[in-house]
Subunit: 300 residues, 2 copies
């Protein structure tokens, strides 16, 4: 059974990851001769290694509703551009000051700070260009709904808001509530927007959206706790950044707050909540179920 | 006659500037208790002094087509948020390293670099949240068109692209073509998007969009040349930043390339081209005409 979901997830992911990578490559190659350097920096930031988790979630949610991957590709890639943008800005010297990401020099190390700020900005802009393109494939009212979700998840009510509190809390003792706020905003909001935008574009009704809202919040939590655990326990070569780097930054983490075993138990609980939320959906939602298991199991 | 357009423009601007400021104030006050500081930094960046030129252009274009200001307010404010975001990032130490803007400390001086980067990002995100809100007031197909225009104007094909070339050209001798590229992208693209998005939301047909395309490109050029001239000639207290600061940064400018008189002649030519492009429009386009005159006359 354990082998079963892993094999089926792998089989599910391969063609879809390829589809996303090909589309991203395509979207990030239509550049004019000027400006210089920026296209290269944007491609470096967005096309490198990466799980493509968010676009896959967008696609899997659309498919759970009976939609097709091809119909949500612009939105799926838009979300990946936003994810890449956030990593580029988070790595800047004024922010987390990280020199290494996925085993490679970060964008500011390779291209300089000014270019990194602008490559992030330009990827963010590209995301919304792609959302406008989505309106050629889907009813524009649904695109407007997806746009609202994704924009909200990226700004003060989401990613930016979480990053601000993360920075303000660095080196301080924080409560479980503060940790929960940081993660729900910094990473949870965009994961939720990935799932819900895919579902909305595929025509999800209010009840289906509500179920996927619960699923995506629990899934985001499971991924975040697991990431925190991996940061503590995995060797550097597996992470692509120094092990224990969160601790070195004095970042708040789940293991720091609850201990490794406490964190593992909370991840399991979040996984189960995610799977339970999918009860109303048929087997087309299986990839969403496998992803919830995967989120947690990769820490063992 | 000279007094006439000035008085009428003033009368036109007052209620619309007030409308934009009230809406911006409103849009930038719906913040939750967390995160800390970010709301204040966003408000500081977007609500300070400023001509609100871009939102006014969006409104004036909609009105030239028979639309109402209230119908395009979310988009008008979205564009102002994008303008504010670009100023915040341009002022950063890694970019132009400016400490003063409109006579006040820049955002990074007041709130630190990390908060300035994130306040810019969050204003950019807010802009697209507002564009999603526009879909409640306008046909979603039109909103998708405006979204595409505005996103394109903000990224590598517009603002970000122009800023990259501006930075790469600093301290170098550049050609008229390079200068033209920088300005058409760095400031021209968003001015064009302001005019065209207002027109599109108000239902402009292809011929009207083409005429306003010519108008907005010429207007953007007129404003930029005039800004360059003012940077050379106006006293510090009028500019809110040190006089000759472009020259101090060894920035490419029109007076540097063509001399003051040559630059003035080019500004006049651009003004005339803008006004000529409005020939198909009736008196409802008068504010757009006055703005073209204003762009240039303020340098005398």
């Amino acid at each position: 059974m354990a082998m079963d979901w892993q094999a089926r997830l792998k089989e599910y992911l391969a063609p879809r990851t390829q589809l996303v990578n090909a589309a991203l490559e395509d979207y990030l190659s239509e550049f004019p001769p000027l400006p210089r350097v920026l296209p290269e920096a944007m491609r470096y930031a967005a096309l490198g290694a990466g799980k493509r988790l968010r676009p896959i979630l967008c696609i899997a949610a659309a498919e759970a509703l009976g939609g097709a991957a091809e119909q949500v590709i612009p939105t799926a890639c838009a979300i990946e551009c936003i994810h890449a943008f956030s990593l580029v800005h988070d790595d800047l010297p004024a922010m987390d000051n990280d020199r290494l990401r996925r085993g490679q020099p970060t964008v500011w190390v390779k291209y300089g700070e000014a270019m990194a700020i602008l490559a992030g900005d330009a990827l963010f802009a590209k995301a919304f260009e792609l959302l406008a393109e989505q309106a050629r494939l889907s009813p524009p009212e649904r695109v407007a709904q997806a746009l609202h979700l994704i924009a909200t998840a990226s700004g003060i009510h989401g990613m930016c808001g979480g990053q601000v509190e993360d920075i303000l809390c660095e080196g301080q003792t924080i409560s479980a509530e503060q940790l929960q706020f940081i993660h729900a905003h910094k990473t949870g909001a965009l994961i939720r927007a990935s799932v819900l935008s895919g579902a909305i574009l595929a025509g999800a009704d209010a009840a289906q959206q509500a179920a996927l809202d619960v699923y995506s919040r629990a899934l985001g939590l499971a991924f975040q706790i697991a990431d925190d655990i991996l940061d503590e326990t995995a060797p550097t070569e597996q992470m692509g950044k120094p092990a224990g780097s969160d601790r070195a930054h004095r970042k708040a983490t789940y293991p720091a707050l609850f201990g490794l075993e406490g964190a593992r138990a909370r991840a399991q609980q979040a996984k189960q909540e995610a799977i339970d939320a999918l009860q109303p959906f048929d087997t087309r939602a299986d990839p969403l179920r496998w992803l919830a298991v995967y989120a947690v199991e990769r820490t063992h």
